[in-house]
């Protein structure tokens, strides 16, 4: 028995670990330990250094990603194909690290002034990023689950980080309870998927689902898995946590959630959809279609009546998620797959810059006004023209006004959907078009307040923004403009069909 097994498995070798491919993760893991140790050693007055060091850890990991991307010769497959470092993974890793870096820049003064816990916060942040970076490469249900938990568990705590604030408490507990519930749904789906296909490896699952007709068990498994991820990307009807949590959590954390956590959910969903579910497109496509349509519509309609800017941005981020989701509803149509993948990645990159930027402006302004009401942004142009211009750029980009990053992202998404050419595609594109208009209404309303209104209390003293916030604004403004004016930069980056294992057929 053993002999025969060995004979069959003659070409199997024990997993040799390609350490170079894991360099970004290893830098982060070592970074976590350094931050922890420093937090113990540093005196209270020197704690600010931790943020700087966290920044360096993230940048170090970013450099590792860039080196891998430049020197890389195709995909590197580790752990028997359960962990793959390909172009797709590298681009998204870079995105996560950059987003996290901006969040660190934004958190710095917030944390110092709020008197929250410094060292622990950055440990949580880096751990969460580590989970995301692992998620980009995970090609196995168990790895995906572990990565998802690694990024979520710190996130639950970060939401509740402002302990002395009831809203932050509530944000934390809501996010946590709904989050673990969604994890349970996802995990149950994974267990059924494993039962239905006999493997936890995405490529094997893909092969098994393509083989023969789908059965009931497959359907349930696929639905549960997609719904589990839908929670992370706050797709309707799994979105309810998002506005509550975004409003309650500290603002930099909200920026992190709305960009990085959401992107991580999309990464997991894309890996699963493109590698494991090509055989189940009859199941996930209608599901994603409905979710995309509901998500953009609900997000927009609810955003219309918000008076708090963070809550409005929360709903806007829900609705943007619908747009990102849109191309995936046609991922299985013949010939559309690569365009859909490209569209989602491009959108995620553009969205990261413009949404982080929007939050950066909100943080910079509310440092002075101490209010999250949209009306408190009145007269911004008169006393902080720089911030007003930056805000205009971000909001116009979010609304999809050319020539900014958001426009190109939307255009790409529309194009991918119209490429599908089915009636369902045209209907979804029409829904998306209507939603773009509704969205423009509330983005424009904020810009009107910023440019046209008077300062509500007549206080027109200039806003002093700390250097890290200015740096964050510079990065995001630059990204939003450059990607919009020269979209061939991301178009090239996004033009990857290098999601290993996908589009094989």
């Amino acid at each position: 028995m053993i002999a025969s097994l060995l004979a069959q498995a003659g070409d199997w070798t024990s997993p040799s670990i390609d350490w170079a491919a894991l360099a970004p993760e290893i830098v982060l893991a070592i970074g976590v330990n350094i931050i922890l140790l420093l937090d113990l050693q540093l005196a209270e007055t020197k704690k600010w250094a931790i943020a700087t060091i966290t920044g360096f850890v993230l940048l170090g990991s970013f450099v590792a990603v860039v080196v891998l991307a430049v020197t890389g010769d195709g995909a590197r497959s580790l752990f028997d194909g359960r962990y793959v470092v390909d172009d797709y993974a590298l681009i998204l890793k870079a995105l996560f690290l950059l987003a996290a870096y901006v969040v660190v820049l934004l958190s710095q003064t917030e944390l110092e002034e709020g008197g929250y816990y410094q060292g622990e916060f950055y440990v949580l942040l880096v751990c969460s990023v580590l989970g995301m970076v692992m998620m980009a490469s995970a090609r196995d249900l168990v790895s995906i689950f572990v990565a998802l938990e690694l990024l979520s568990i710190p996130a639950y705590m970060m939401a509740a980080w402002n302990k002395r604030n009831r809203k932050s408490n509530e944000a934390g507990i809501k996010y946590y309870l709904l989050g673990v519930f969604a994890s349970a749904v996802l995990l149950y789906g994974m267990s059924l998927l494993f039962g239905a296909t006999g493997s936890t490896k995405l490529t094997d699952i893909g092969a098994a689902l393509l083989d023969g007709d789908l059965i009931g068990l497959d359907v349930v498994a696929v639905v549960f898995v997609v719904c589990g991820f839908a929670f992370k990307i706050s797709a309707v009807p799994f979105h309810q946590w998002a506005p509550d949590t975004y409003e309650g959590a500290p603002t930099p954390v909200t920026a992190f959630f709305s960009v990085a956590t959401k992107a991580a959910g999309f990464v997991a969903l894309m890996s699963v959809v493109f590698i494991a579910f090509p055989g189940a497109d009859g199941v996930y496509q209608p599901l994603i279609w409905v979710m995309a349509a509901l998500t953009m519509t609900f997000g927009n309609v609810l955003a219309l009546r918000q008076t708090n800017i963070v809550r409005m941005l929360a709903y806007s981020s829900v609705s943007q998620g619908g747009f990102i989701l849109m191309p995936l509803a046609f991922a299985g149509e013949p010939g559309v797959g690569p365009a859909a993948l490209n569209a989602v990645i491009v959108y995620l990159i553009a969205y990261a810059f413009m949404n982080l930027g929007a939050f950066a402006v909100v943080i910079a302004v509310t440092r002075k006004t101490r209010s999250g009401e949209i009306s408190s942004f009145g007269g911004l142009f008169s006393y902080a023209p720089g911030l007003a211009v930056a805000m205009t750029i971000f909001f116009a980009s979010l609304a999809g006004i050319p020539p900014l990053a958001g426009w190109f992202a939307k255009f790409n998404a529309f194009k991918a959907v119209l490429d599908a050419g089915t009636t369902a595609a045209y209907v979804l594109a029409a829904i998306a078009a209507v939603n773009t208009v509704i969205a423009a209404a509330y983005y424009m309303r904020v810009l009107r307040v910023v440019w046209m209104d008077e300062a509500p209390d007549g206080d027109t003293s200039p806003v002093k923004s700390p250097a890290p916030v200015v740096a964050a604004l510079a990065i995001t403004v630059l990204g939003t403009i450059v990607l919009g004016v020269l979209p061939n930069l991301i178009a090239r980056a996004g033009a990857i069909d290098a999601l290993t294992g996908a589009f094989a057929g």
Binding site: V142, I153, M157, R166, E170, A171, K174, V185, T200, D244
Partner: protein
């Protein structure tokens, strides 16, 4: 070797556990008990993994459960941390009370 056993009843049991968990999550208003219900649901997933692993003769299912168990333990710790922090501020809060953020 392990005999191939009909797993349907285990699946049904797991589904029932999942359902009970979901039901409890909805009807209970103590955040702590709600969390216990989520634990029930995680157990359902584990049971499915193990039942399927036995049937498919694939040890991967069992290893998956190890990961889930540890993650579940971590979730318990975090959940209790957040709960303690929230109950410190709002003694006796129920899930229905947690509705300050809305709209």
């Amino acid at each position: 070797m392990i005999a191939v056993i009909e797993p349907t009843w285990y699946l049904l049991l797991a589904a029932m556990l999942f359902g009970i968990g979901a039901f409890g999550l909805m009807v209970r208003r103590n955040p702590l008990i709600m969390f216990m219900c989520v634990e029930l649901m995680l157990n359902a997933a584990n049971l499915t993994f193990v039942a399927m692993a036995t049937r498919l003769n694939d040890i991967n299912g069992q290893t998956a459960v190890f990961f889930v168990l540890v993650v579940a333990a971590a979730e318990v710790v975090v959940g209790l941390g957040i709960l303690v922090s929230i109950l410190r501020r709002r003694p006796g809060a129920t899930a229905d009370d947690l509705a300050e953020l809305k709209g």
